[in-house]
Subunit: 352 residues, 2 copies
């Protein structure tokens, strides 16, 4: 099993009030670069920003890393259009950053990126891939491609109050700028991405398509952005079995829409509740209040936690939060304590 | 603990008869790109070449990967001047490929690369780093910098018969091309690298310097190339404790020279014998015959194997060799058997 994390950017994220991924718009493009450092090293390393909301809600990368430190899994990051350098190792598929979907073309190299991602996905020897994403503004571009494909679409949000109407207005404007009506891109997924998507979409879709067609099991790790990827795969004619693993936070917000979408795109759905309500810790409280919800493969990572070990994940999350400068009044000690193990995964990776 | 693998190239490798890293000169520049794919995925993925000698001797990357599959350790690859793309994730420190040391300047960006590597090494949260290298021609550039620094130098070879005299002639020519006499670069390590080194040297030296000065324990994983790095560090005025971990194959070839060099540069030396003579397998037989000997952090990886588990490493090496297309008459079965586990590390990285 290998977790893959395509990380990229889209200028769509800069549109007022559609994303919470990053405190200020000008810092948001640093978020995916910081997320992948957290996944690789356990904390930001060269990144000038630490993705924690003003309320003390850490990026989902903190949760994915916490799971990695408990169960241990291989992870590889793919540069799917980063604008800011990162100290994390990344696979270079030569994908560029995405433009504002309100321009006529949002992802000019969508087809070339899909092709390179397909070859990469087809070439991996792993028997199973869990594919996530980190791209601020990604739920809006997900709504964009779903609408262009003609799929009934609701999308999630990293904000407690989902600005879905604002996103719909942005998508309407985006489709108009590309001379498209909803449904005009049916069975033309790459055209949908090129017009109103983001560069992480052809990367995830391409890797998944190449992997599925070479017999590799694929789990899409995420919420409504992965519903969009599933739709893109089905509109590309890929009918192999597919599963989606997301968090209870997305499931609670989406209600029956999520299961309906999975049924429509023939995806097996796994929802995992990390039990954050069992802890009195600011970071977990923010997730329970509906902040962040999902991202950076959080739901997929949580689905890898064996029965009975979620408590260890919560312990480790406190340690990761302490590294990110989040100390909960009530939870300082365990955090500090766990932090002694630094950024080492839990499995035998210290050597003698 | 994290294993770091700077991977790069130098045109010096194209000089006739100085390197065995790669069957043909024109394919040699693919070797480091293939090595890092083997470390990350367990076999070459997008690389057009598989680094196995005509005699069936696999790249040391196969051994380092075998150890990783047994004991498990974090590993990050640094692009230290690759010319060929790789499917492995790499940290981008903006280092360019190295030129032929017989030109006046071999590594034009040595200082800038050292500075970026220093910042990277200083920023890592790990308590201990094991730093290796993969750069065809690296023992010749090691002889180059050692000579420029004025250090008595013998270097190892990936060939059973070390073409040391040929290397000395190349280095003499290289120094002359840079208007240097042996010893002219005493206490000026970056000038030595710029004139007669390779881009992996400022990367390894910079990361080690930054890590040591920020209190991180550093083990240099390699043979005479790491002796050269130790010399560069000491000539840079870094006097922190340092250790070198290499293979018994290098130690057997170098005899007392190795211990003498470690004493001169105040390095603790660890030599590990993988017990390849206990197996009747072509790959292990080639190492016992003196091919390859070291590289891709092999000695450092072997030093991480706990007492009594080297047999598992040999079993796993047979599986890795099978993936590289090396089947030993006597060892086909175990290889095939082990291969069922694909490229998964041994520790619990499958998830449920």
């Amino acid at each position: 099993m290998r977790l893959l994390l395509p990380a990229g950017t889209t200028e769509t994220a800069l549109i007022d009030g559609i994303s919470a991924a990053g405190a200020a718009p000008e810092l948001m493009e640093h978020t995916p670069s910081a997320d992948v450092e957290i996944l690789e090293y356990g904390e930001p390393v060269m990144s000038p920003v630490t993705p924690v909301s003003p309320n003390g809600c850490p990026t989902p990368a903190a949760v994915t890393r916490a799971v990695r430190e408990v169960v241990g899994f291989d992870a590889s990051v793919i540069d799917a259009g980063l604008t800011q350098s990162t100290a994390a190792p990344t696979v270079d598929l030569d994908a560029g950053p995405g433009g504002d979907i309100r321009e006529s073309v949002a992802v000019p190299d969508a087809k070339a990126t899909f092709d390179r991602a397909y070859d990469y996905g087809a070439s991996l020897p792993d028997d199973r891939l869990v594919i996530g994403e980190t791209v601020p503004g990604g739920t809006t571009t997900a709504l964009g491609v779903l609408t262009a494909l003609g799929e009934p679409a609701g999308v999630s949000s990293s904000l407690p109050e989902n600005p879905i109407e604002r996103k719909r207005r942005v998508v309407d404007e985006a489709l108009a700028a590309s001379d498209l009506e909803p449904g005009d891109c049916e069975n033309a997924p790459l055209e949908a991405i090129e017009a109103v998507g983001d560069p992480v979409q052809p990367t995830v879709t391409g890797i998944a398509a190449g992997a599925l067609e070479s017999g590799t099991e694929v789990t899409l790790a995420g919420g409504t952005q992965m519903i969009a990827v599933a739709a893109l795969l089905r509109h590309a004619g890929i009918d192999a079995p597919l599963s989606i693993a997301t968090t209870s936070f997305v499931a609670d917000e989406q209600g029956s829409q999520l299961a309906d979408a999975c049924e429509r795109f023939d995806c097996e759905l796994t929802v995992t509740d990390p039990g954050f309500d069992e802890r009195d810790h600011v970071a977990m409280a923010r997730y329970c209040a509906g902040e962040a919800k999902e991202g950076v493969a959080m739901g997929g990572a949580l689905s890898l936690v064996p029965e009975g070990r979620m408590g260890e994940v919560r312990d480790r999350l406190e340690a990761v939060c302490a590294r990110l400068g989040i100390e909960s009044e009530d939870a300082g000690e365990p955090g500090a304590e766990n932090d002694e193990t630094g950024s080492e995964p839990a499995e035998g990776s210290r050597g003698p």
